[in-house]
Symmetry: C2
């Protein structure tokens, strides 16, 4: 076997031509999403009022394990993919660990994260359907940037509702999106009923992903030839993100590498779901002891402290009901610096896998996360996104456990993006003014009180 | 021949192990740098008071065409190199040109530019010599960021004098450098005699690379076990940057590609010199008709409107005298947004090659440069640095000429970096408030009046 290089790149020929549909390999499927009025499972027709029809088909597809990536999306992917699988030789040396650490680095494109993988797909399908306008929300700004890039490429008009706190923390994100031609509105705003209602209740709100989703949804419903697109949580987004795991697995297989532990940060769950998709099948089938760990911020602990229940995806309570780990759509996350992880719920697929015991979850505090980020930046070069740094800290923890036990485990983690637009957060850490916010049980109870009451059902969904 | 992929990556084995020394292939060498007191050519001893001894040796080496890259630097390079050679399929399609456009993209590392290539080398040699502290200046912030990354990796203390206007335009650059452990001081400052003198004369100055160099030099000379490092202009910096051209040439040769035109932006000339290094030899020998074009900003036109004369490298008039195209060390460039190109002089090697007719030069205005940057970002994905965008505009112009003539020329340009820290500039362009500054002849005369009087010499240098 050849010596493993610092970076493993697949050639264009080796890049996967299919996405991996996690649901097709799950023993038990997630409970279906429900129409919030009838409490009946959503039909394709229900979903098509909001989403493009190809995406609805993907959302409801539980049988096809591989779904072909259309040529146009493959062409788009070639602009910035394959992303490198990096052997963290320098980090290993610094930690003096027998563990072998790899990370799949999704930050080499201008959006600075994995979000472009699904943005490209969603915009392509919209274009194919003749849709001319899209709306969306963005938290950390990564999804909005990615979508504005894809919309510029495919020639689609875009309006982005950006969580107010993120717009303040990351002023230049707006400039990037505008450079790509998007219209950016801080949320909550006066442009929608949902926004006006939230502002009336709480004029000083920092906003949240949940609020921004409500506004983007409302605008899409009220605008001709317009659809809403979402950057995480939903099954079709995880499907598109499976390119991450597929590339990582192909790159590892080239060198005969098998991971013992896979670690990813999880906000809505899309990068995490994409990273683990092709690896978890063997575990589900009982043929693998691989450990799979989702990392969330202690300030927004949907898996580790949330409830597994039907809930709305947005604060405005307008989306279909999703069965997921949630803090309640009314939970207002504290203003931590990992905007992409500041969401009350978790992907139904990831929630189900966690509930069924295939996945572990861990919540980490942000000051320790930034300490890990700084260590990583200084020894591996790349300045990581705060979101990704949750995975870095967990990977370091696991590598240090290997140092204690002497085990030569292979750790793979997802480095979802770069921190070039998160320098306010780094400044706060560098100057020693960063604080950790952990919700009290009382805070959580307030969120849980906003969970909808869904009638018990028996029989077949 | 296989279809050319969007991105050509070399494998670790294919990455060059040697730098290319341009001076070893030049028919006529640049005039030597002079001691500003004696007007005698600088000796190794003169230079060693400021620079590390290995770098002095490289600076004066005119005979060895290939210089081996030490293993430690090769290891560092593996963290972020090889950089991709990209076929600009999308840009070609948009322009509807028969030209084939390639760019060598140096922005995939956290410093966001090619500067890391020389930073790694310079810090390594300092470490090897037992130096514990370094000082430098930074304009756009790319060099300072690169150096802070290399210093964090090799464990060296770093002070960066950052041009004041850049510190204001790019607040987050400082945070990145501090995250990597550097001390950042806006220049001119009160920490040096040179800074205090410049501030006394002109308290509202925006600063310039020339001022910042004076301050960094002074601090290095006055501090124990400290040396000064420079990110451009000097021959050893061009040597380190030859990795760009060597990788580009190796990647092109894999697919049998030969460029007809090479385009690079030129501030101090290091990326440009590095890009063209292995390509210009045949032209010097009369075996190639390749066109090589250096692009500078119309606001700081050292080659197109400057004089070929001995001049100081800094505003404080403390450096050795360099024979170069210059606007005069007293020339104060207008505050355009390409900080990396805002320097009064030009690398002596590039100056000589230009003077001898091997290179063309062109000056471009910034609003047109940002128009090209936006076109490029929207179709190729990557948000380019303003500096690099000068090369983009020139490449577009050449590709459009091919469209008129029907010629299928192969164009290679250097995409030196990303614009993630230049969003103030993009905001200015997006909002229509960007203006172009072109110095009047009178402005230039003021700069030329600051050129030193150097006695005429005959005989051997």
């Amino acid at each position: 076997m050849a010596r493993i290089p610092y970076k493993i790149f697949l050639s264009e020929d080796e890049v996967p031509k299919y996405w991996f549909n996690l649901k097709a390999v799950m023993k038990d499927l997630p409970d279906p999403c429900l129409n919030p009025v009838t409490f009946e499972p959503c039909t394709a027709e229900d979903l098509s009022r909001v989403f493009c029809s190809d995406l609805v088909e993907q959302e409801l597809n539980t049988t096809d394990k591989y779904i072909r990536i259309p040529d146009e999306i493959q062409s788009f992917y070639k602009m910035y993919r394959p992303s490198p699988l990096v052997r963290a030789y320098c980090l290993e040396k610094l930690l003096d660990t027998p563990a072998r650490i790899y990370y799949k680095f999704e930050g080499t494109n201008t959006s600075g994260s994995h979000k472009l993988n699904s943005a490209a797909a969603q915009v392509y399908y919209a274009k194919k359907q003749g849709i001319s306008k899209l709306t969306t929300e963005t938290g950390a700004g990564q999804w909005g940037t990615a979508l504005s890039m894809a919309c510029a490429y495919f020639g689609i008009d875009l309006t982005v509702y950006m969580v107010k706190i993120s717009a303040r923390q990351k002023p230049y994100r707006k400039a990037v999106m505008e450079t790509y031609g998007a219209r950016v509105i801080p949320s909550p705003s006066e442009t929608t009923e949902a926004g006006r209602r939230i502002l009336a209740e709480n004029p000083d709100t920092n906003g949240s992903l949940g609020c921004a989703i409500s506004e983007a949804l409302e605008t899409a419903m009220k605008t001709d030839n317009c659809r809403y697109v979402l950057g995480s949580v939903l099954d079709h987004v995880l499907l598109h993100q499976s390119i991450i795991g597929l590339e990582a697995k192909a790159a590892m297989q080239k060198y005969g590498i098998e991971p013992d532990i896979i670690i990813g940060c999880a906000g809505g769950g899309s990068n995490f779901g994409g990273l683990i998709a092709p690896f978890i099948e063997d575990k589900i089938n009982g043929n693998s002891n691989i450990r799979i760990i989702a990392i969330e911020p202690a300030s927004c602990p949907s898996m580790t402290r949330g409830r597994y229940a039907y809930d709305f995806g947005d604060t405005g309570r307008t989306t279909p009901l999703l069965k997921m780990y949630t803090l309640g759509s009314g939970f207002m996350p504290s203003p931590n610096h990992a905007g992409g992880l500041r969401y009350h719920g978790m992907s139904p697929i990831i929630s189900k896998l966690y509930h069924d015991g295939y996945i572990e979850a861990r919540a980490l505090e942000q000051s320790k996360v930034f300490e890990a980020a700084t260590i990583f930046a200084r020894c591996e070069g790349t300045l990581p996104a705060p979101e990704s740094s949750h995975a870095i800290l967990a990977a370091i923890d696991e590598a240090l456990k290997c140092k204690e036990t002497g085990e030569e485990k292979t750790i793979l983690f997802g480095l979802t993006g770069t921190g070039y637009f998160d320098l306010t957060a780094y400044e706060s850490y560098n100057s020693g003014t960063m604080t950790d916010y952990i919700p009290t049980d009382e805070d959580l109870e307030k969120g849980f009180a906003t969970l909808p009451r869904v009638p018990e059902r028996t029989g077949i969904y």
